[in-house]
């Protein structure tokens, strides 16, 4: 960090959900750490060589912590590498990526956790922490070395987009993980009810002649899981909820005092099943986009804090697996670069306030994962995103940093964008 000049972010609107702070002032950064956040630092004696960034009109928020990103390194580097994902993240104001274990080889061994961390240290420009597999080979049968993987640096345990079919396996994992304080993140979709389903079940799927995924596929698994949490006392996080029915289930569990949290993806907050019309495969997601009523309920749940976390669910898929008939195409959309911009739309619409959005994209995931991020407190690493809230722009897929272009926001108009991202005090992205 010796080569880092001190930086002063001057006259920014400072928004820090970790302290419910919303003020205008300056942030002084030295040695990669936030030294001071006050009303006015410019008059104080700044060290020589301090870079002063004029932040009038900009909002400084804690860098986002994306709890669900599928990357592809190792094994599928043509989709995304840790390096390219980190470039995409930086452009989207994301300073910490939590990568998912469905790589090749699968992250179910401490040596792979170690590989990811070293590889990220050498090639990525943002912080990267892996989630490890909950079961060996993601096969849903035998639990992984939860203690050793955690010690190696895995921040949580998940089988990615796979649900554990066996209640017994999940029960034992929750029970075992409890003593390690390990968090279990679960994709809540009953595979047998999903079947051949490729979109939300309902009138639209019937009209398009596409097999549907019923909402019950999600709520049945969520209900089961929360009952297992009740008898085990484990720490549980629902990876991506999509429908109003699930919210009722989640609300009850939280009211009962269970150690339960949940995410929704930005796609499910910003889009709905109607976007699939025309068989647009960039909107083919798992779990699928639901109805507009579900979308509205989900946004409301984020506003209330019932949904704790908003994730990008970044899932790069190349042209070969997307330019296919809808039922044959791969699931997934990229999202690291657009999650904040898409979230700002909800703020502009008045559906969410900015504090809530940033809390769900930064502070809450950091708390849930036990990471020292998601805050602008002095003494913490300077992971900061600077937002120009009124900047209008059009998403040009050619400018995306991700190796894949499967964005559902192709050519979308946004208002508000990230103009600078700092990771540990170093500017890793600047919009010019």
């Amino acid at each position: 960090m010796a080569d880092l000049r001190p930086t002063l972010l001057a006259k920014a609107r400072i928004l820090d959900p970790s302290r419910d702070l919303d003020t205008t002032g300056d942030i002084f950064i030295a040695d990669g750490v936030i030294k001071d956040v006050t009303g006015d630092l410019t008059s104080a004696g700044l060290p020589e060589g301090t870079e002063i960034v004029d932040c009038r009109g900009l909002i400084a928020v804690p860098g986002l912590v994306d709890m669900r990103a599928f990357i592809g390194e190792p094994g599928a580097e043509h989709r995304e590498t840790l390096a390219s994902a980190s470039q995409a993240a930086a452009a989207g104001g994301v300073t910490t990526i939590i990568c998912q274990p469905d790589t090749d080889p699968i992250i179910d061994d401490p040596a792979i956790v170690d590989f990811i961390l070293r590889r990220a240290r050498d090639t990525a420009i943002v912080h990267v922490h892996p989630m490890a597999a909950l079961t060996k080979g993601l096969e849903g049968r035998e639990m992984t070395e939860i203690g050793l993987l955690g010690a190696a640096g895995a921040v949580a345990f998940t089988d990615g987009t796979r649900s554990i079919p066996s209640a017994q396996v999940l029960r034992r994992a929750l029970t075992y993980a409890r003593d390690f304080g390990a968090l279990i993140v679960h994709h809540t979709e009953d595979a047998s009810l999903v079947g051949e389903g490729v979109m939300n079940e309902g009138e639209l799927a019937s009209r398009l002649g596409l097999a549907g995924v019923p909402k019950a596929a999600e709520t049945i698994v969520l209900e089961r899981d929360l009952r297992l949490v009740a008898i085990t006392g484990g720490r549980y996080h629902a990876a991506s909820l999509t429908c109003a029915e699930s919210l009722d289930v989640l609300r009850r569990a939280k009211r009962d005092g269970l150690d339960v949290t949940a995410s929704a993806s930005i796609n499910h907050l910003a889009l709905n099943e109607r976007d699939v019309v025309g068989y647009r495969t960039f909107f083919k997601l798992t779990p699928p986009l639901r109805s507009e009523d579900d979308r509205v309920a989900l946004v409301q749940a984020v506003a209330e804090g019932l949904i704790d976390v908003v994730v990008s669910d970044h899932n790069p898929q190349d042209v070969e697996v997307k330019r296919l008939p809808f039922s044959e195409a791969a699931f997934g959309a990229i999202g690291l670069e657009t999650m904040l911009a898409a979230g700002l739309r909800l703020v502009k619409d008045g559906a969410l306030d900015l504090m809530t959005l940033v809390r769900a994209m930064s502070t809450r995931p950091a708390e849930i994962l036990g990471l020292p991020a998601g805050t602008l407190r002095p003494g913490r690493l300077a992971d900061i995103a600077l937002i120009a809230p009124d900047e209008a722009w059009l998403l040009d897929p050619a400018t995306l940093k991700s190796r894949c272009r499967n964005t559902p926001f192709d050519e979308a108009r946004f208002e508000g964008r990230v103009v600078r991202t700092l990771v540990a005090g170093r500017t890793v992205y600047e919009y010019v």
Binding site: E201, G202, E203, A205, S206, R207, L208, G209, L210, G212, P214, G278, Y279, E320, R323, L324, P325, F326, S327, E328
Partner: protein, 332 residues
């Protein structure tokens, strides 16, 4: 009179300039579904098809409408009757017709649908007739080619020429479509024929019922504006047309219905069940039939059956579609 090129198969006295008297143009490049067609366009196609019914019953069945044009039948899913119907329709209009059964071609070698489209497009066809097992696949392909595309069935989505030929068959036998009650019975969930027929019959003012066990009905089917029935007695009561659908073999043995025996008992159309319908009700089936599964032979071959006429109307309707689209082709 145009000059007849050497080697041409047309008889020397054939009038190359002759055209159907009912001239009708579809103001679109492709026919991908019934959805989006106006009632006027549907009626225009049916009227035009009537001309071809007459033509097809003559000894001389050829027109020159598509002379010099190339039609490729691209079937990613096996089909005998639809493919031969389109082949005959194209040939009778004078097109060069090539059949490609893709089960034996490059898709097996990993070529994608879009690569296949690009490859065929480079051969400058004028019309592609496409069938594919995935819903939306024909639309996807249509976006990648310069020629006209006719959907010959995509997944469980649409099969527009089947709905048109069904409508033509009904209209010729009942004199109208408006005000009729049509029961579509059987595997609605997986049927593109049902979807296209519901859209077309509604567009022309018929009442549509669907009759099937609940496992063979798609979710929210009542939102299509149809009356939903689970038993044949109520479903067929007073209907004018009984349209049976094929039940795929893999869905018969416990997955969607318990057995062939049980399915035929409750939903198979036999003479007893047909008596629930109006005495002058007519029976249709898009084929190929599973006799003894969804339909009894006595009904299929009985006096109320229009099943063979449907096949005849198929060729006429496809000629009408090709004729109407060809007027939009470049240099057409």
């Amino acid at each position: 009179m145009l000059a007849v090129p050497a080697g041409c198969v047309y008889p020397a006295d054939f009038d190359m300039t002759s055209n159907p008297t009912a001239s009708f143009t579809l103001s679109r490049r492709h026919l991908l579904g019934i959805e989006g067609l106006s009632p006027e366009e549907i009626v225009g196609l049916l009227d035009l098809a009537e001309e071809f019914v007459v033509l097809n019953r003559q000894v001389e069945k050829k027109r020159a409408t598509l002379r010099g044009r190339t039609q490729i039948n691209l079937f990613f899913e096996a089909s005998t009757r639809t493919q031969s119907s389109f082949e005959l329709a194209g040939k009778r209009l004078g097109a060069d017709v090539m059949n490609m059964s893709v089960s034996t071609s490059s898709v097996k070698k990993g070529e994608t649908l879009i690569d296949t489209a690009a490859t065929l497009n480079a051969m400058h066809p004028d019309v592609l007739i496409v069938r594919h097992s995935a819903s939306g696949a024909v639309e996807l392909l249509a976006r990648k080619v310069d020629c006209s595309v006719v959907n010959a069935g995509d997944g469980a989505h649409e099969h527009p020429t089947q709905a048109l030929l069904d409508a033509l068959t009904i209209r010729r036998n009942k004199g109208r479509i408006e005000g009729l009650t049509v029961a579509i019975c059987g595997d609605i969930a997986h049927s593109r024929v049902a979807r296209s027929n519901i859209l077309l019959l509604h567009a022309l003012g018929a009442q549509v019922r669907v009759v099937a066990p609940p496992t063979l009905l798609p979710k929210d089917i009542e939102r299509f504006g149809v009356e939903v029935h689970h038993d044949m007695r109520h479903g067929l009561a007073d209907v004018d047309i009984v349209m049976m659908l094929r039940l795929q073999r893999e869905r018969m043995n416990g997955s969607f219905v318990p057995s062939v025996k049980e399915y035929f008992h409750f939903w198979g159309l036999d003479e007893a069940k047909l008596r629930y319908a109006r005495p002058d009700a007519l029976v249709m089936h898009p084929g190929p039939m599973n006799r003894g599964v969804e339909i009894d032979s006595a009904v299929a071959d009985g006096a109320q059956s229009l099943i063979r006429e449907q096949v005849e109307m198929g060729v006429a309707v496809r000629m009408a579609v090709l004729d109407a689209l060809s007027r939009n082709l470049p240099n057409g």
